[in-house]
């Protein structure tokens, strides 16, 4: 038989006696728990979503010319300073992979997978009624089918045809057969090309960001910008993901033997920096959400002080008939704990619902919502809520236990 904890009974009944007051105090905890859990889950789902996308290209390596620092040429918009298409060859050589280097890389990595070079440039484009900017990619036509996935249409077969990303197609209202002009006639040469295919949506990527890009043949690219044999980057798609480190090391050993010539990036380093940034943002947002818990703590403290004041005589009786100080403390900590558990549990249930809505709205997918990394924030926030409640109850409990029994008995 379990020992009947009569102090717990007293605490439960005291909470029930002041039901409305207790519910209102617990509501603060509910809000705090929901805020922390929802923000945490949002961060976790963002991270998981990015990780999910990046892990699909864990077998990708991107080689760029060494520029002295890190950074991802392939990440976030195709790279390259805007409008530098007709820039001097001097500055371009400093940032580009040369044909010799490409051959070296292909010799090393060719046996592990597909190696291809990428020309890229940000430039203005023009349709019959709109003007804007886009990333222009130039690739070896032989590689098209291997690295590009079509939603509709066909791959370019001439120097006047291109495929375009789905976002550009949507923004400019383009479809197979549409025409557009690449380049600005004021700054350099231009080319009028015909769209023959629309690419599948790909999401964020480190090798080719084709969603907002125009992809044409190498000859089309060099026809506009020149610079033949000077590549923005070399992409390697490995057949086996386990070879990432081997290939990376071999390339670095061969090409950076004397001077640092190239930088090799894999998805893990990219993932690391993204998750680190997301982690910082999540912690910050959760900290702001935590402020609501501080407000809740004040409310709990207030309710507990009221409870102690109202029960002074009862404390006097309990003490006079032989209740130890620590038992009186325990009784009030129970009371704070009950408020915390009630608030925490309601908060946990509510954060499941509200978190789902927040994740759906902010991340766009709830694919990762029911994973441990995401749901973990619910018990986490709940524990913080309960913990804060108990901490708020410490001083009132201590005050109750320090009352002089004789004085307390005199209270009405």
């Amino acid at each position: 038989m379990i020992l009947k904890d009569i102090l717990l009974q007293l605490s439960v009944r005291s909470v029930r006696l002041h039901f409305l007051r207790s519910v209102l105090a617990a509501l603060g905890i509910v809000i705090g728990v929901v805020a922390i859990a929802a923000m945490g889950m949002m961060g976790a789902n963002m991270t998981l979503s990015v990780t999910g996308e990046l892990s699909q290209m864990a077998n990708n390596l991107v080689v760029t010319a060494y520029t002295g620092g890190g950074g991802f040429m392939g990440f976030g918009g195709g790279g390259g300073p805007p409008g530098s298409g007709s820039g001097g060859s001097q500055s371009r050589e400093e940032q580009m992979i040369t044909q010799d280097q490409f051959r070296n890389i292909r010799d090393i990595a060719g046996s592990y997978g597909t190696v291809y070079y990428v020309y890229s440039q940000s430039d203005s484009i023009e349709t019959s009624d709109q003007w804007g900017r886009a990333t222009i990619y130039g690739l070896d036509p032989d590689i098209f089918a291997e690295v590009l996935e079509l939603e509709e249409g066909d791959y370019p077969k001439s120097t006047t045809t291109v495929v375009i990303g789905p976002r550009i197609a949507e923004r400019f209202g383009l479809e197979p057969g549409s025409k557009l002009v690449i380049g600005d006639s004021d700054e350099g040469s231009t080319a009028t090309v015909r769209v023959v295919g629309i690419l599948k949506e790909k999401g964020m990527s480190m090798d080719l960001n084709t969603d907002s890009a125009i992809v044409g043949s190498e000859k089309l690219y060099t026809g506009i910008y020149g610079g033949e044999g000077e590549y923005r980057q070399v992409n390697i798609v490995l057949d086996d993901v386990d070879n990432v480190d081997t290939v990376k090391e071999e390339i670095l050993a061969e090409l950076n033997d004397r001077d640092d010539e190239v930088t090799v990036q894999d998805s893990s380093s990219m993932l690391e920096s993204i998750t680190s940034v997301l982690g910082t943002i999540t912690t910050f947002v959760m900290g702001i959400a935590g402020v609501s818990l501080v407000v809740a703590a004040v409310s709990i403290f207030n309710v507990m002080m009221m409870s102690v004041t109202e029960r002074v005589r009862e404390i006097g009786i309990l003490r006079s008939i032989g209740t130890q100080r620590n038992d009186v403390r325990r009784m009030f900590l129970y009371e704070a704990g009950i408020l915390g558990i009630v608030g925490g549990v309601i908060g946990a249930v509510a954060s499941l619902l509200i978190g789902y809505i927040v994740v759906l709205g902010m991340v766009g997918t709830t694919e990762f919502f029911f994973t441990w990394q995401s749901l973990w924030y619910i018990p986490f926030a709940m524990a913080i809520g309960i913990g804060i409640c108990i901490i708020s109850g410490v001083y009132p409990a201590w005050q109750a236990s320090s009352l002089d029994p004789i004085e307390a008995l005199r209270a009405e």
Binding site: K4, Q9, L17, I317, S320, G322, I406
Partner: protein, 226 residues
Amino acid sequence: MQAKSRPVITLDRVTKVYPLQSGDVTALNKISLSINEGEFVAIMGPSGSGKSTLLNQIGCLDVPTSGTLTLAGREVGAMNDRELTDLRLTTIGYIFQKFNLIPLLTAYENVEYPYLMKHRKNDDTGHVRHLLDQLGIDEALSAHKPPQLSGGQQQRVAIARALVNDPAILLCDEPTGNLDSQTGIQIMEVLAQLNRRGRTIIMVTHERDIAAYAERTITIRDGRVA
């Protein structure tokens, strides 16, 4: 009946001084007395004479400023709060004028409370139930909360609570003060019966006919035994 020879309470020049801003107030002034096991003692005196202070000393709610107070063979003056509380739980049964039951607990739980605190285990012997039955509180009444009981019933529950840990001393502070005379007599009969069975009882009262139930009356005046 037990021989009334062994002293269970001994006060030797017990003094209690309350320091106030307006000057020290001596509530008890070098009181010496001895109460034997099985005695029924009434403490009388006018208001402010110090009789409640005396009861608080014997009840271990307070400790003397000077002098020695020995309870059931133990010197109280040097005890810390934990030891005093433990003594209140195990050695003393307190019966108050205002009953002082816990309103959130049922009559049964009020009696059960000190038992649970002492033994840290449930009462599986039926001791609590038996005590309540003896005092005329049946099962139906036991399930009520104190405010639902009459004054006499509440005081009977309070007596049961005071007896549950089988204390050496029963302290009663005006036990009939909040009861009508008929109920007061019933309660006094209960106390007298307990004393006949050997329980040591010390009772503070200012009513002569109530004090008449005791075998000995100690009168306190201005903090001294008169």
